[in-house]
Amino acid sequence: MSLDYVKFSNGFEKFMPKEYRDMVEHGPFGKKVSVSQMGSFKEVLEEHPMCAGCAMTLFIRLAMIAFPNPEDTITVGTAGCGRLAISQAAIPFVYGNYGDQNGVASGLSRGLRLRFGDKPKDVVVMAGDGGTADIGFQQVLHSWFRKERFTTIMLDNEVYGNTGGQESGMTNRGAVLKMAPLGKKFEKMDMVQMAKVAGCAYVATVVPNNPRRVESVIKKAVLIAREVGSTYIQAYTSCNIEYAIPTDKVMEDAKTVENDRYAFSEYVSDEAKQYLTERYGYKEFLSKPATPAAIPSKA
């Protein structure tokens, strides 16, 4: 967990695959990279078996670029489509049993603090809507109530994608899926509200059709989780297979869903605002200077 872990052992460089050499020499480790430089540096994410055109893949790709210190980050995941890509990156990945991910991440982030003290080591959970809001619900909520300092990202495709289309708590009412043929009878769960009630210091909803915004919310969430408390990002990451979205229309769908039920929202606690401002130089939370009082005209 430092810049050393990606370096070559003496004498081994010539045996390493080209992709690995490119990553060591031109990857994001130890540098600041951004979405605007995409296409010019080697990304840590490698080839993986997620479906062509999947919006979740794009979101994971953007997330890995947004991590403030990829060399000091561990991702935690669970059963579901996302782990197929998250595990294929040069960032250590821990695979929790289905639904265990926030329990695993709690222990991991506490252990890292014991071992490394104040040196930030970031833990980021990325799991599906089923893994987060259904099977992992209890562990997710409790980690938030305990104010565990790591980031939880829900990859919300509004379905159990990996197992062929069962409804989840995050599926919309009325949605007809292969394994929910009568249509879902209940409303989509309001996990954003629950995150706020449980005391998360940062809560955001985002869709992947605005890469810079994805980058910005992930950076804030990871930084805040270093010291202030739990952070939660809920991202709409459509499943083009289970919802039959033509792959070249995935971004059009993201825009429609953003307008319908996934408007960008961001809650930042006062403590987190102060922390980002003082520690990381964020300007957006500074109170606007009061308009200067009109100078009284001389009589």
Partner: protein, 107 residues
């Protein structure tokens, strides 16, 4: 046979907005080269596709047509590509990449 994305350097380099690479779901697939455009007298470089990583979703086509409004990308059967970039022939530099284009791409 299957389709992959192909970027027309002349059309792309006139705009070179880099939007397609920000929206391609696959990492390290749509890359950017300063040389590719500048070699042809354009002020900016061009995007290009490492076709061995492309999954053929055509999202980049939608992005270039509808967001960039530049129509620089077409889907082409992989064996019909006259020349294309493959990951093995890509070299990363400080701010951009270069690629030696291979021909034929398959077969």
């Amino acid at each position: 046979m299957y389709l992959v994305a192909d970027i027309n350097v002349e059309i792309c380099a006139s705009k070179s907005c880099k939007l397609c690479t920000q929206y391609c779901p696959e990492a390290n697939t749509i890359l950017y080269s300063e040389e590719m455009g500048k070699d042809q007298g354009f002020k900016y470089g061009s995007a290009y596709v490492a076709v061995d990583r492309c999954k053929g979703c055509a999202q980049c086509v939608w992005v270039c047509d509808n967001m960039a409004k530049n129509n620089a990308i077409k889907m082409i059967m992989i064996d019909q590509l006259p020349k294309a970039a493959l990951t093995d022939n890509v070299t990363y530099g400080e701010k951009s990449t270069t690629a030696v284009l291979a021909s034929p791409v398959v077969g």
